[in-house]
Symmetry: C2
Subunit: 346 residues, 2 copies
């Protein structure tokens, strides 16, 4: 199915490339976006959209559903590309980020600073295009008017909510606190809901799901989405860059207000707290400083505590599909995805 989704994405960008070439427009923008999409990604959101379709009793997967699923991956590309510009990240999916690639491509006699500014501008634009194209993929999916009427409000809400989460994330960065609930809230808006709940509910809405199906999907998706982000927080600090494709210093340098950091700040003694406060968010944090932070995250028990939070949420998600109103194949897929999303290395 991953493959069918990639076909939908490639079809769309090929059509865009052709029409750009016909109008003598630079195709490098599309190549950049396609390179980003092809560099990796778990296609989690499209897969969940299709599982939502099945959960609501949809059987064979129509091309229109695949295109809606692909539109969620395009939205995800938008979110990541802009996120990387905002955070000033250098690598993603094991490659240079879009703004870094664009800066290199357009060096060409420019000063470093000018090329970096241009790279950032291009990445903002490529992200804008990805957002616009995620909308177009949805509009041109071939949905009937009733499906369109059901799905558009969900996708509208998803976009707004994700941007709220990103806003909280960006404005809190560099000033993490011991406020655990706030950290979870950021995670919920920024990632959890648009990764799990919205894709499932959008897929279910396409199949005309009843309310009890939607409710059961939400009961599964909410804890799992949080567990997913908690795992991401751990991987961002303790993961292997070779597997995650991202540096393991970025989250610490950005001083992200994660649940992991909030728990550590709650449990830290004065010396540990001073260390966290002085090193988290330091733009030039080095490996030695990062190791000191990791030591505190382990010594305070924050790392273990977050592992337990993940396990508790995974359990809750699995209980929600214990006796669900779904066809058996959909339930099996949801179980498998729950494990894959929380027990992972990348």
């Amino acid at each position: 199915m991953r493959c069918a989704i990639d076909v939908a994405l490639v079809d769309f960008s090929m059509a865009r490339s052709r029409s750009a070439a016909e109008q003598d427009l630079p195709v490098e923008v599309i190549e950049t976006l396609r390179g980003f999409l092809e560099a990796g990604g778990k296609r989690l959101r499209p897969v969940l959209c299709v599982v939502g379709w099945h959960a609501a009793g949809g059987e064979e997967i129509p091309a229109a559903v695949l295109r809606v699923a692909a539109s969620l991956e395009m939205f995800h590309a938008f979110a990541l590309i802009h996120d990387d510009v905002m955070d000033g990240s250098d690598t993603r999916r094991g490659r240079l980020t879009v703004h870094r690639t664009a800066a290199t491509l357009h060096r060409d006699g420019r000063s470093h600073a000018a090329a970096d500014r241009l790279g950032a501008a291009i990445a903002v634009l490529v992200g804008d295009l990805a957002l616009a194209w995620s909308v177009e993929l949805l509009h041109s999916a071939g949905l009937d008017p009733a499906q369109l009427a059901r799905v558009l409000p969900l996708t509208d809400a998803m976009r707004t909510e994700t941007m709220w989460g990103q806003y909280l994330d960006v404005t809190m960065a560099g000033r993490p606190t011991a406020d655990f609930d706030q950290a979870l809230r950021i995670a919920r808006y920024k990632t959890a809901r648009y990764t799990f709940e919205w894709p499932l509910r959008i897929g279910a809405a396409l199949a005309g799901a009843e309310a009890r199906v939607c409710d059961a999907l939400s009961a599964y998706a909410r804890p799992l989405g949080e567990a997913f982000q908690l795992r991401d927080d751990l991987l961002g600090v303790f993961g292997s860059p070779a597997l995650t494709g991202k540096p393991d210093l970025d989250d610490l340098r950005d001083g992200k207000h994660t649940a992991l950091v909030a728990v550590a700040l709650q449990r830290a003694d004065p010396v540990q707290r001073r260390l966290l406060r002085s090193l988290l968010g330091k733009a030039d944090l080095d490996e030695h400083g990062a190791a000191q932070i990791r030591d505190v995250l382990v010594a305070t028990g924050a790392r273990d505590a977050v592992e337990q939070l993940i396990t508790a949420r995974l359990d809750r998600a699995l209980r929600a599909v214990d006796q669900p109103p779904f066809p058996i194949a959909a339930t099996a897929a949801l179980r498998q995805l729950a494990n894959a999303a929380t027990v992972r290395t990348a």
Copy 2:
């Protein structure tokens, strides 16, 4: 009618504010966007959308049409906010730009560089929200399925095209050439079409316009859109900042590849060309340097030539509504708008 459109915009952002407050989300984002929308703007795109509705025989203006018109203003806000981040502009509509305002608001113990980065990140996000909300305004306008099916492909095409134009504008900045056609192409994609042709055609499509109405609207809109951007180029260099709300140095400092500059480079003698090449795109260009550039733009006859290009295009636009297939009131509005768009000081 301007007022009715502002009501639609305010209604939407009030609803968004309420729902943000209910979820305990920071309303400052919405305040920022609303401040931007209220600070000015000619509401040209919504007005043209409504005129397109009338031109196609639509009579009383339904709330749904006003909401679509408002969505075009929201799209314009997105384009300007991101444009200002990309260009690093300080003022717009006589106020600080969104990224500058956000940087000031979040100074709060941060270094200047860190506050500037955060300001840019927030402006990217506010622009993203404006783009998402322009889509939502359209989706939730209350259009019937047939209207929606006609309008969505037009708005999708408009978004992509505008982003292409912006891409060309950004990548050519700092390296203007004597290529007049390329300068006009940038103007067409970046501004002309989404300011005139798309709003008119979207309004007309809402009313179910016949092909000959759409063709006549395009014949009017295309030259006029170019004339509008040519006027903008002149105002960007020779306009009064007190009237335009923008500094008169920005375009020169950015070294924008405008038709004005292309004509000047074509006509310049070697000394004048050297002067343009050395000063255009200079980030720290001062008033003295700007005055030198303006002298060359006048001495080469480029300024007069662009005035003539504007007049020729205005004439072409007016001829297109000489015997148009429109109701008389719509024709009168189109005539009046043509003059307002090309003979203006702001």
